[in-house]
């Protein structure tokens, strides 16, 4: 193991988005510190501006197919990493825009809120590029650190404090498992970089090590049986943070799962497929059945998120390139639908002050726009054509049926029907029940923009998915090339431009 730290300028270019965002993070904090009277809304737009510049940079990387590795393979920039970075930053932008009004509820540290969100996003960007167990660990903890604070941001709210505590204790526990897993894997193989492990022998220590790592990542994505923190944390956390938590860390952790299971453990697929299939079936079924009983919209979305993770794991169980494509595609569909749904939840809770499902009574009369958006987002989550979620689910099912995972697909299909029930209960409240208080609900510009973006994404991906499938296919193509032994033994030269 040799760490070559002779960074050239062109190497640093690979880190440009992260470096820029780190500087921008400092700028945001400094601006907040220097001019405390500045309206906090400005800080939000300042952060969004920095994020958009970073997004532009990443888009440039994607178009010009910039790729390469740094720090002795610890940090990798391939098109899959770029995809996930764009995914994470996109969700961050939407979350910040959606939280502008909500931030007024915080009693203290309103400015730091944006800095913390950006900081978590930065950590997740490193997660997307982590190609080594140590860098995974460091970046995972870096991003979670921000979330520990964000979840408990409503200082005077007991639920928020409880959520923070629960998240923190279980999160630290997961970190411990992860560290222990790393130590076992390193002890057995002497390797930390994923692509070097492909030739490892399946010793008991290695298996236990990877099981521990899977448990820690399962905690991050909220798969059953590592989901116990999800409902309470989602319920108690400030709603924009919940929205953020429900999207970005899942994407980042899935990037790591893909790298571990496809790259490091690709040869053990006949073994781990049972693990993934079992977790997937249990997550889907448990999430959907428990969601039926929920009275709080945030808890409902929490359980639906658990079920969606079960769906995503079907793609991982397929273990093929198409399965990876399907996961990426599904994440895109999930991003727009889930963030959109949370944006509506935030907008409604700003007006009503509560998040119970029965508060959505007659939303179709009080705000036709919000109700219609929520309808489309929920139906997309349920997987109804012509919305993005349907194509995503179908993509995953097709990838899985090509691998002959009939049981998994049957369970997945049955779960679509179960999930239809609880999503339609919300639809029933919004459209069929009459409002108690018929006063209209107004929404402000940034929130409207977020919902419009969600609607556009949900509809466009559903009706014309070709550009998006092209994108995800290209994203995992580079990734697939990168994992071939030839490419990893001699680290590829850094390519700038095409």
């Amino acid at each position: 193991m040799n760490f070559v730290l002779n960074l050239s300028f062109s190497d640093l270019l690979l880190l440009l988005p992260e470096i820029f965002l780190t500087c921008w993070l400092c700028v945001v904090i400094t601006v907040d510190f220097v001019s405390p009277r500045l309206p906090k809304e400005r800080l939000a737009y300042l952060s969004v501006g920095g994020l958009l510049v970073t997004l532009g940079c990443l888009a440039w990387f994607d178009v010009n197919q910039v790729s390469g590795t740094l720090f002795g393979n610890m940090f990798v920039l391939d098109r899959m990493a770029i995809f996930f970075k764009i995914f994470i930053l996109g969700s961050t932008v939407l979350v910040i825009l959606a939280s502008i009004e909500y931030v007024d509820r915080f009693t203290l540290f309103r400015g730091e809120y944006y800095a913390l969100v950006v900081m978590s996003a930065l950590g997740m960007m490193f997660m997307a590029s982590a190609n080594d167990l140590l860098s995974v660990f460091v970046s995972l903890e870096f991003s979670t650190l921000g979330f520990y604070i964000l979840v408990a941001y409503l200082r005077n709210d007991l639920a928020s404090n409880e959520a923070g505590l629960k998240f923190f204790i279980l999160g630290v526990f997961a970190a411990g498992l992860f560290a222990y897993g790393i130590s076992l894997v390193y002890g057995e193989t002497g390797k930390l970089v994923f692509s070097d492990m492909a030739s490892a022998q399946a010793t008991p220590g290695l298996i236990i090590g990877f099981l521990l790592i899977f448990a820690a990542l399962g905690f991050k994505i909220g798969a059953v049986p590592f989901h116990s923190w999800i409902p309470d944390t989602y319920h108690g956390a400030p709603t924009p943070v919940t929205a953020f938590l429900s999207i970005a860390p899942k994407g980042a952790a899935l990037a790591i799962l893909l790298r571990i299971f496809i790259v490091a453990l690709g040869t053990f697929k006949p073994t781990w497929i049972y693990l993934i299939v079992a977790v997937s079936i249990v997550s889907m079924t448990y999430g959907n059945i428990v969601a039926i009983a929920q009275r709080n919209i945030k808890r409902l979305l929490a359980y639906s998120g658990i079920a969606q993770i079960g769906n995503l794991l079907i793609g991982l169980a397929a273990g093929t390139k198409m399965g990876n494509d399907a996961i990426l595609f599904y994440l895109l569909a999930y991003l727009f639908a889930n963030l959109g749904a949370f944006a509506v939840v935030i907008a409604v809770s700003q007006a009503i002050g509560r998040d119970e499902i029965e508060d959505y009574r007659g939303l179709g009369r009080r705000s036709p726009f919000l109700a219609f958006s929520m309808l489309l987002f929920l139906l997309s989550l349920a997987g109804v054509p012509p919305l993005a979620g349907f194509i995503g689910k179908l993509y995953i099912f097709i990838a899985a049926i090509k691998e002959g995972l009939y049981t998994l697909i049957t369970v997945g299909l049955i779960n679509i029907v179960i999930s239809m029930y609880y999503y339609l209960i919300v639809v029933k409240q919004m459209y069929i029940n009459e409002p108690i208080d018929p006063s209209p609900i107004s929404i402000r510009g940034p929130m409207k923009a977020v919902i419009y973006v969600g609607l556009a994404g949900t509809l466009v991906i559903g009706i014309y998915p070709q550009p998006f499938t092209d994108w995800v296919v290209a994203a995992t193509l580079m990734f697939a090339n990168f994992v071939t032994p030839a490419a990893t033994i001699t680290p590829p030269t850094v390519l700038i431009g095409s």
Binding site: P385, P386, F397, I398, M420, V427, Y431, I432, N433, V473
Partner: protein, 569 residues
């Protein structure tokens, strides 16, 4: 313009729905105008394809193909054959009629028309899809609008109010209430409909995915897949894979048809739905089931169809008798018509099960005929409900004094539903009966009994609604006098009787679609002496037709039946 006709039919309602989003509810005339005009575009284009369809050439016409997803092998592939054409026409007629039937909707009219247009466009999409993915896509897409249409503009049945507390808050929202199978709320009906149809739709999707995998072609194209059906004949789980796929597809789609043990969502849904939705639901949505079975099971798995179609022949008897008896004892106008619809769908299954040129053509014509007849009946039941706010037959009566036009039309509707000579239903029924007599005599006797039952319950309902002493509570009820109110009824009556007297074109169109299909399934050409391959199919179709009502003459039919039986053995 001609070759794009299918795109106009399919996308005009979608475009209308999109345009309506930007119109305010404060301009009801504009809302209705947009809805009616896009429906009119669809109707004109449907008439164009119906009369422009080349029956000599046959096959899929007006074909449009756009690549949609390369990775998944999906193309937006549209085209109609002789089976799809009349159903597309029926859908656009009922959409156009339905918009006028719901002309007086006050509450959220814009949203109502949006969902109605999406519902109709989705059903039309199924009838013209030549790609399995899009068939399922449109099929599933038609379910959700039903939920909202039933839930937002539907009505509860009589016992509903007794079951809730005064504000209807608590129990209506509980899980138990939705799953309370005795309840009569519209929420229950809507939820049951969606869950039932989705549950069976995913079974069909599983079948479609299995076809996709085992064909190994990475395509959903029906025309390609049907050439490779033999690939699926592999043993699995003690039977063969094609049988499993067939069962999944058949029962998946038959649930919407609805075949007997899977019918319970349908009358409940009919009863809760507003008039125009009931019309589309009974008129075309139920035909999605038969059509999808023909398109997927018949086209792609012909051999399996021949082996397993007797299942439908058995179940259709229960459909006919059970539906008929429940309709006879039902006291709610919409339940009567709803159960009558599910009973009549048994005839279509009988016609499909016999796998005979005459009977399958009869089944397709029956779908068209039933759409008109049941559309009329639901429109009039809706009118009566709007005027009296009750659907309880015993409490009504003598309404013909107040609404002579409606009561007159109702007689025509009943006649059409029974299958009186002169309506297109007669043509269809006689074809089904004659075509399946040789193979399924018992079922034909049951079907005859079903016709008697239809007569009984429809006349009973007619007497209960329009004749006898009038309840003075309903003296304010008035007739359909405006053009807008009379137009849909007159249109459907005209079409029903028009095709009843001049069925030739409809028959030829249907026959050109049925002939190649049955030839593939049974391996016999329509007439025994023909020996020139596919061209003779057309010739035979012409021979079998005496001028006025085609299927009364017995001789050619006997030949056909003999021939098809020969093919079976």
């Amino acid at each position: 313009m001609g070759e794009y006709a299918l795109l106009y039919i399919l996308f005009a309602p979608f475009a209308g729905a999109l345009a309506l989003i930007f119109v305010s509810n404060r301009q009801p005339t504009l809302v209705r105008g947009i809805a009616a005009s896009v429906a009119f575009v669809s109707l004109v284009a449907s008439l164009y394809i119906f009369y422009g369809y080349d029956t000599v050439q046959g096959g899929f016409q007006f074909v449009q193909k756009f690549a949609w997803s390369k990775e998944l092998g999906i193309a937006l592939y549209l085209g109609v054959d002789g089976i799809g054409t009349p159903l597309v026409l029926a859908s656009s007629i009922l959409l156009f009629a339905g918009i006028f039937v719901s002309w007086h909707i006050k509450d959220r009219a814009k949203e109502f028309y949006i969902w109605l247009l999406i519902l109709a466009a989705a059903t039309i999409g199924v009838f013209m899809s030549l790609d399995l993915f899009f068939l399922y896509f449109f099929y599933e897409m038609s379910v959700i609008p039903m939920y909202l249409l039933l839930g937002m503009w539907g009505s509860h049945t009589k016992k509903y109010l007794e079951m809730t507390d005064s504000e209807g808050l608590k129990r209506r929202d509980s899980v138990g209430f939705i799953f309370n199978f005795g309840s009569n709320s519209k929420e229950y009906a809507a939820m049951k409909l969606v869950l039932f149809l989705s549950a069976f739709a995913v079974a069909a999707l599983m079948g479609i995915l299995l076809i996709y995998k085992f064909s190994g072609l990475n395509t959903f194209d029906i025309l390609v897949l049907r050439e490779h059906a033999n690939l699926m004949n592999i043993p699995v789980l003690g039977t063969t894979l094609d049988k499993i796929i067939w069962i999944l597809v058949f029962f998946g789609f038959a649930s919407i048809a609805p075949i007997w043990p899977l019918h319970s969502w349908s009358p409940v849904g009919h009863a809760a739905a507003p008039a125009a939705t009931s019309m589309l639901h009974a008129g075309v949505l139920m035909k999605l089931g038969h059509f999808s079975i023909i398109r997927v099971a018949f086209e792609i798995l012909p051999e399996t169809t021949r082996e397993l179609m007797p299942i439908a022949a058995v179940l259709c008897m229960f459909s006919i008798i059970y539906g008929g008896f429940v309709a006879f004892y039902a006291k709610d106008t919409k339940y009567v018509i709803g159960y009558s619809s599910s009973s009549h769908m048994g005839y279509v299954f009988l016609g499909m099960a016999a796998l005979n040129y005459i009977s399958l053509s009869g089944a397709v014509i029956y779908m068209f005929a039933h759409a008109m007849a049941t559309g009329m009946l639901f429109a009039m039941a809706g009118w009566v409900y709007d005027q009296t706010h009750t659907r309880d037959i015993p409490s009504l009566g003598g309404l013909s004094n107040k609404m002579p036009f409606i009561s007159g039309c109702f007689i025509v509707g009943c006649m059409a539903s029974i299958g009186m000579p002169g309506t297109v239903n007669f043509v269809a029924e006689i074809m089904i009966v004659v075509g399946s007599w040789n193979k399924y005599p018992l079922q034909v006797i049951v079907a005859m009994l079903g016709i008697v039952l239809t007569l009984a319950y429809l006349f009973k309902m007619m007497r209960g609604l329009f004749y006898g002493p009038m309840n003075q509570k309903y003296s304010h009820a008035h007739d359909a006098v405006g053009t807008v109110d009379r137009l849909p009824l007159l249109m459907m009556i005209t079409i029903s009787i028009g095709f009843g007297i001049f069925p030739m074109h409809l028959y030829e169109v249907v026959r050109s679609g049925v002939d190649p299909l049955i030839a593939r399934i049974t391996h016999v050409v329509p007439v025994a002496e023909s020996d020139e391959g596919s061209r003779s199919v057309k010739a035979a179709a012409e021979i079998t037709q005496p001028p006025a009502i085609p299927m009364v003459s017995n001789k050619p039919i006997a030949q056909v039946s003999e021939a098809s039986r020969g093919g079976q053995e």
